[in-house]
């Protein structure tokens, strides 16, 4: 049994939802799914801790891509959570028997096919199940190039992991496909929403959030072991956990470029180029940080904070201009 709509994606949620929508006959790229759901963001949430480190996100919270895209496409997704693993597995088997392709939210840690060093207790991973053979589920995990298999016990454990963002066995199916063409109007609305998020008057969100994170970094004690872990953690959230590079900035640039071909949106191709350059700036920040983590350069929080402040300024100008261009 194969799943012809498995495509390699940068990010699990945008990958899963675009592959699922394709399966239902609406050809859509990962970048389009990401952009139309207005998923680009920045959030620094010091009061939510993952392994003792603050939550730093370069995108909107889990499930917002699926919900957001559903709204834009007028498609209908059905979400179900479960009290106990047995009920969750029974329902999954039932849906598969009916021929559905089913989306799941899982922990990364308990998925045996993940590389050992990438297995952390992160609970908002997404994947598609497209079949079952014997005791194995057939899985299209878009962060991998090929489809994989996972035994029932491990998958159940991954679905019912507890902790921050616990999936509670969440599964989702697409009930009806909705519209199949993407209009300039829908794209414009989504982009303006992202501009609003990035320019939000809140100190922990968008360009202001980046600035607040910069101030936090500037206060780190260069001699403390914890400081190195803190800055390393920022880079993991930005690059390693599947963002397509530069904390989703490259992915969003791909979206802007795709939208530029819609009628009346030609001006976006210049914005796409600009965002690619800003993304290169984020990559330079990652490189500078990694050199300090590795000890090739001395840990200098002030330099890193300045790089972050500069990125915040660049993104502020960028999203202001983008907003003006669309109004």
């Amino acid at each position: 049994m194969t799943f012809p709509h498995h495509r390699h994606a940068a990010h699990c949620e945008s990958g899963v939802v675009s592959n699922l929508v394709c399966h239902h006959g609406v050809p859509i790229t990962e970048a389009m799914a990401f952009g139309l759901s207005a998923a680009l963001s920045f959030a620094y949430l010091p009061f939510i801790k993952l392994s003792g480190l603050p939550l730093i996100a370069y995108r909107q919270p889990p499930r917002s891509i699926i919900r957001g895209l559903g709204k834009v496409l007028e498609a209908e997704f059905r979400f179900e959570t479960f009290r106990n693993p047995a009920a969750g597995q029974a329902r999954l088997d039932e849906l598969l028997a009916q021929g559905h392709v089913v989306g799941l939210q899982t922990s990364v840690y308990w998925l045996p096919y993940f590389p050992e060093d990438m297995r952390f207790h992160f609970n908002a991973h997404n994947l598609l199940v497209f079949g079952k053979e014997g005791n194995d589920y057939l899985i299209s995990d878009p962060v991998g190039e090929q489809t994989v298999r996972c035994d029932a016990a491990s998958l159940s454990r991954a679905r019912f992991a507890r902790g921050v963002l616990a999936p509670r066995g969440l599964l989702y199916t697409m009930q009806k496909p909705g519209v199949s063409t993407i209009t300039s109007r829908a794209a414009r609305k989504a982009i303006l929403k992202t501009c609003r998020t990035m320019l939000a008057p809140l100190p922990i969100i968008g360009v202001r959030g980046i600035k607040t994170l910069a101030s936090r970094v500037a206060r780190l004690d260069p001699a403390a072991h914890r400081s190195s872990l803190f800055v390393g953690h920022i880079i993991r959230m930005q690059e390693e956990i599947g963002t397509g590079g530069a904390g989703f900035r490259f992915l969003y640039a791909a979206f802007l470029q795709e939208v530029a071909s819609l009628s009346g949106m030609g001006m976006l191709s210049g914005f796409s180029d600009r965002l690619m350059l800003i993304g290169d700036g984020w990559r330079a920040f990652a490189l500078a940080t990694a050199r300090m983590v590795k000890g090739r350069d001395a840990l200098n929080p002030v330099i890193l904070a300045d790089l972050l402040r500069d990125l915040s300024r660049q993104e502020e100008v960028f999203f202001r201009d983008l907003k003006t261009a669309l109004n």
């Binding site: 840690y109 060093d117 990438m118 872990l229 640039a253």
Partner: protein, 131 residues
Amino acid sequence: MDLQNVPQDGNKTLGGYRKAVYARDAGGHIVVAASNGWEVEEIVTSQAVEEMRSLAETARQNAINGLSSTLEYWMYARRMDLLLLAQSTGIWRWRIRRHFRPEIFARLSPGMLKRYAEALGLAVQQLQRLP
């Protein structure tokens, strides 16, 4: 990022996987490219993995020396911390901290041991031993 600059550093941490990144081809189109890793990512991931390994190793030594129970070792070996273990078992943190004391851990009821073992993906006998 241009296509020819997509890092192919062969990260050990990716275990042979390739990840999708977005880069610009010669014609200026942004396309998906498969990367077998960027050294920057390997550095920060290894740092996080190493940190957890060292916490587990310290806990292992403490368990050998009778300063801590095997529960603390297994918590770190499963890449958890006190908060996550508390959330995964539904046991309060102060109680778990108490169970880190070897003499108290030795007296835990079978039901309590089972709760810990299940949350950590272990058999009860494993939980009571070091590997």
